[in-house]
């Protein structure tokens, strides 16, 4: 699923920055739980968390571990899909959960109230791809010449008409008998795919947030195939990104990942990006705020018996249902800010109201 130790022994810049930010957060959690004991000399306190998989490389980084260790902390992190964290993962074994977005954190908070949450960093969504694919997308009008912006509307036109790579005019670089589809994770399990669902449904709804059943019915035919036609989907974004890195163009021609994953790889001393790797930014896009939720000792795992369901009528999330998304009182800012369309956002509600029966 992820890369506990294998690659990325060095992701210098990001790792350091993130470590410093996180240190404060986790230190607070632990100190609160142990009653503010003097941390010097540091007795090792083991803190166990379940995290969005894309952050595993960060927690596995030796230097990050060293910083935590210097403060008497040992972090043990299990990777999982962020939606799984919010729904099926039994949380009673963990001290904290760290899903990849505030909507997922909100879902989790409904079951496990916490005094406050922490959002130390955010990342926009991005498309990791290859130069020949970018060229093909440029010819097809999905990417403007020389640009790094992927026009989601043009892409949806291509994807929803069932166009295959080998049907693109003049395509000799990648004549695969396979639909032109962004590879994603499973939207029921993973935040990045849920973010993508937010973007796609927004565009399919004529740049409007899908906020009611009528809109759902209208966008479902064009949005559902984006996932269904891919077949089996990985449950975490780290697995998807790893498939991109190791499987090449034939396996994952375009992967919807977090910008941070690609940049971290690019900044590592020994980057494993493909020689012809390229990063595109969807337009419109969404920022995903990684949100840490402290869990009370012995949290009862009521989430463990709930199945992931996007259409369940259970308790409303703490985010608002339509744009603009007001910030929940306990946090400083809202869920997901749209880059090109600041008025839009992907709130949990909208995704919940999508009749995603497979979930």
């Amino acid at each position: 699923m992820t890369a506990p130790a294998g690659r990325r022994s060095g992701r210098r810049v990001l790792s350091w920055l993130l470590a410093l930010v996180l240190l404060g957060v986790i230190g607070f959690v632990v100190l609160r739980d142990v009653g503010g004991r003097d941390p010097d000399p540091p007795a090792v306190t083991v803190v166990t968390g379940v995290i969005g998989s894309e952050k595993l490389a960060f927690f596995a980084d030796e230097r990050v571990r060293a910083v935590f260790a210097a403060h008497g902390l040992e972090i043990r992190a299990d990777p999982a899909g962020s939606r799984q964290i919010a729904t099926t993962v039994p949380l009673d074994r963990y001290d904290f959960a760290f899903p990849s977005s505030s909507p997922a954190a909100d879902k989790l908070l409904a079951q496990h109230p916490a005094a406050r949450t922490y959002a130390p960093f955010s990342s926009p969504m991005a498309v990791a791809t290859f130069t020949p694919i970018v060229d093909l997308l440029t010819q097809a009008g999905v990417v403007a010449p020389g640009s790094t912006t992927l026009d989601v509307r043009r892409y949806l036109e291509l994807a929803t008409s069932g166009t295959r790579w080998d049907q693109l005019p003049g395509n000799t670089a990648f004549p695969a008998r396979k639909d032109v589809l962004l590879s994603t994770t499973a939207p029921c399990q993973s935040n990045s795919a849920a973010m993508y669902l937010g973007i796609a449904s927004y565009v399919a709804n004529a740049d409007g947030v899908v906020a009611d059943q009528a809109a759902v019915a209208q966008v479902t035919p064009s949005v559902q195939p984006l996932f269904r036609d891919q077949g089996y989907l990985p449950s975490t974004t780290e697995v998807l990104f790893e498939d991109y890195l190791s499987g090449g163009m034939g396996r994952v021609p375009m992967a919807l990942v977090y910008e941070a994953q690609y940049l971290a790889e690019a900044l590592s001393p020994d980057p494993l990006l493909p020689a012809d790797g390229q990063l595109l930014y969807p337009s419109p896009t969404i920022f995903s705020r990684h949100t840490l939720v402290p869990l009370p000792p012995g949290a009862t795992g009521s989430a463990s018996c709930s199945r992931p369901t996007l259409s369940s009528p259970r308790s409303p999330p703490s985010t608002a249902s339509g744009p603009p998304t007001p910030a929940p009182s306990r946090r400083r800012s809202g869920t997901a800010a749209c880059r090109n369309q600041p008025r839009s956002s992907t709130s949990w509600n909208r995704r919940r109201s999508t009749p995603w029966r497979e979930c």
């Binding site: 699923m1 506990p4 130790a5 990777p79 993962v89 295959r164 639909d179 077949g231 190791s246 396996r251």
Partner: protein, 541 residues
């Protein structure tokens, strides 16, 4: 609704496994300190046993004792879905979790899953055959392969898709490439019986319930150690085919054909169960970290020929290998398998030589036999039962024997409505009555005579004999006579194996001998229920 649920469970069954064997629950593997603080008990596909040296190092490095319990694919999946797996295991490790993912109940029983290595399912062809059909050194598509198969330009062996993930992946890849539209299969496409599919599956002349048996049978036939007709190729994991080439036991190497229009890859996720203890989860975490260090990844690649899961450990393979979409809907997978078994694959012909001597008296003997037949006829609603029942178009002959062979009863199951014919077989099984002695070899020869007539009338079938006896031979000819018979069989009968069920007081040594002589194998029903053994044999016929 219910049907879909059943289908999902059944699919599950297929799944878990992988590659693995349909029931070769041989001895497990235990590595690491006996007095370790923590032992990780892993339900695993038997193919994972090839990792023993790597796992021994991993156990030493992490202080975790590792116990691998190899289990049949279907059994493993059934255990995960029902929750039985978590009562005595901490983790599972099969070639794929894709099928488990089709079932929310099973999915929720899985914890962290970490991919360790990967291998695609490809076609390996003897080099001379690959050159003959013109596939050496150039891209080949599934459509070309299907056309050549339809013209019988080559033959191949493949595992049973209900027993092993390699066979299942092959069925998915072929159907997706030949009738798919570029996206994951739809229900309608999964039900397709397009000529290209029939062509492709028509060239399969060797089937097996386990990957290990398939390889052995291929090698024995190609070297002449087995009297059956040599097979031109195998569909299996690339790693298995590379391993066969490296072993040096083949007269000529296998050329690996990776179809240009797409493959399906197994990714071997090492998965801790959600119910595992914190200690076990921590042990899993440490093991996975160790297994994914670059040196260990290289060692795995060298030892098993599988590709490392960690990017950058080895140079990426040249070329663009297109990965086909894998269906994610249970009803699609169910329809695909049902279509394969009942309509697409070469139909089976199975002659059941059944001991009804006096010693078979009693519920645990004749009763067990009647239940075993009824189970195959459709009474078994379990995961495994669904795809192991008598199939559409299959020809089934019951040949009961005691002092001498009785007259055979032959049934042919309709392709579309299999129920009535299956019921007729169950009724015939229920009518079996025990009495008299045990004329094993005379009856076996009678079965071969039946097979000869049936083959002459209808040659294009997989033909096998299943021999079930609960005692030693007490009447008619003996093993030596059968050895002479086997050596002088008509050419058409040389490829007909005998699968022997060792039951009650039967002579296990003689049964081994019969299996060896005919290219079959034995199954032990002294330690497993007779119905389970009958079901396991279905993967081979």
């Amino acid at each position: 609704m219910r049907r879909i649920a059943t289908a999902a469970v059944a699919v599950l069954a297929l799944v878990a496994g992988c590659g693995g064997d349909g029931g070769d629950t041989g001895p497990g593997l235990g590595v690491g300190p006996e007095n370790a603080d923590v032992t990780l008990r892993v339900l695993a596909g038997s193919e994972l046993l090839d990792l023993e040296p790597v796992l021994a190092d991993a156990a030493a490095a992490t202080g975790v004792r590792i116990e691998l319990d190899p289990v049949g694919t279907l059994d493993g999946a059934e255990a995960v879905a029902s929750g039985a797996a978590e009562t005595d295991h901490d983790a599972i490790w099969f070639s794929s979790n894709r099928y488990l993912a089709l079932q929310p109940e099973a999915q929720a029983r899985l914890g962290t899953a970490v991919d360790i290595m990967s291998s695609p399912v490809v076609l390996g062809l003897r080099r001379s055959v690959a050159e003959r059909v013109g596939w050496s050194g150039r891209p080949v598509t599934w459509a070309e392969i299907a056309a050549a198969a339809g013209a019988r330009q080559f033959t191949y062996g493949m595992t049973d898709p209900s027993a092993s993930n390699s066979g299942f992946s092959a069925v998915v890849a072929v159907a997706t490439a030949l009738v798919g539209s570029g996206s994951a299969l739809t229900l309608e496409q999964a039900e397709s019986t397009a000529p290209a599919l029939r062509d492709f599956f028509g060239a399969q002349t060797l089937s097996a319930g386990s990957s290990g048996f398939l390889q052995d049978a291929f090698v024995r036939r190609v070297t002449g150690a087995d009297p059956g007709e040599p097979v031109d190729g195998l569909i299996n994991y690339e790693s298995v085919l590379l391993g066969m080439n490296a072993a040096g036991t083949l007269p000529e190497p296998l050329e690996l054909i990776r179809p240009a229009d797409g493959i399906v890859t197994a990714e071997y996720p090492f998965t801790v169960l959600a119910a595992a203890s914190p200690e076990a989860r921590d042990a899993h975490r440490r093991l996975v970290e160790h297994l994914r260090t670059p040196d260990v990844q290289r060692a795995i690649a060298e030892l098993t020929h599988r590709q490392p899961a960690v990017p950058g450990v080895l140079p990426a393979p040249a070329g663009v290998a297109v990965e086909l979409p894998f269906p994610s809907q249970a009803d699609v997978v169910d329809a695909l398998l049902t279509s394969y078994f009942d309509k697409l694959r070469r139909p089976s012909r199975t002659i059941y030589v059944l001991d009804t001597s006096g010693s078979m008296e009693g519920d645990e003997r004749i009763g067990a036999l009647r239940r075993a037949l009824a189970g195959l006829a459709g009474a078994d609603a379990s995961l495994t039962g669904q795809f192991r029942r008598f199939r559409g178009r299959e020809q089934v002959t019951l040949l009961p024997f005691s002092d001498s062979p009785s007259s055979p009863q032959t049934f042919t199951v309709a392709a579309d409505d299999t129920g009535p014919d299956r019921q007729a077989i169950a009724d015939a099984g229920a009518a079996l009555q025990p009495r008299g002695g045990t004329a094993i070899y005379e009856s076996l020869e009678a079965a071969y005579r039946v097979a000869e007539q049936q083959i002459a009338a209808d040659p294009d079938r997989f033909t096998s004999i299943v021999l079930m006896t609960d005692g030693e031979n007490t009447a008619g000819s003996g093993l030596q006579d059968f050895q002479v018979f086997a050596a002088t069989r008509a050419p058409a009968l040389r490829g007909v194996p005998v699968f022997c069920v060792v039951f009650g007081e039967s002579d296990a040594g003689e049964m081994e001998e019969v299996a060896e002589l005919t290219g079959g194998r034995t199954f032990d029903a002294r330690t497993a229920p007779l119905a389970e053994v009958f079901k396991e044999i279905r993967g081979y016929v």
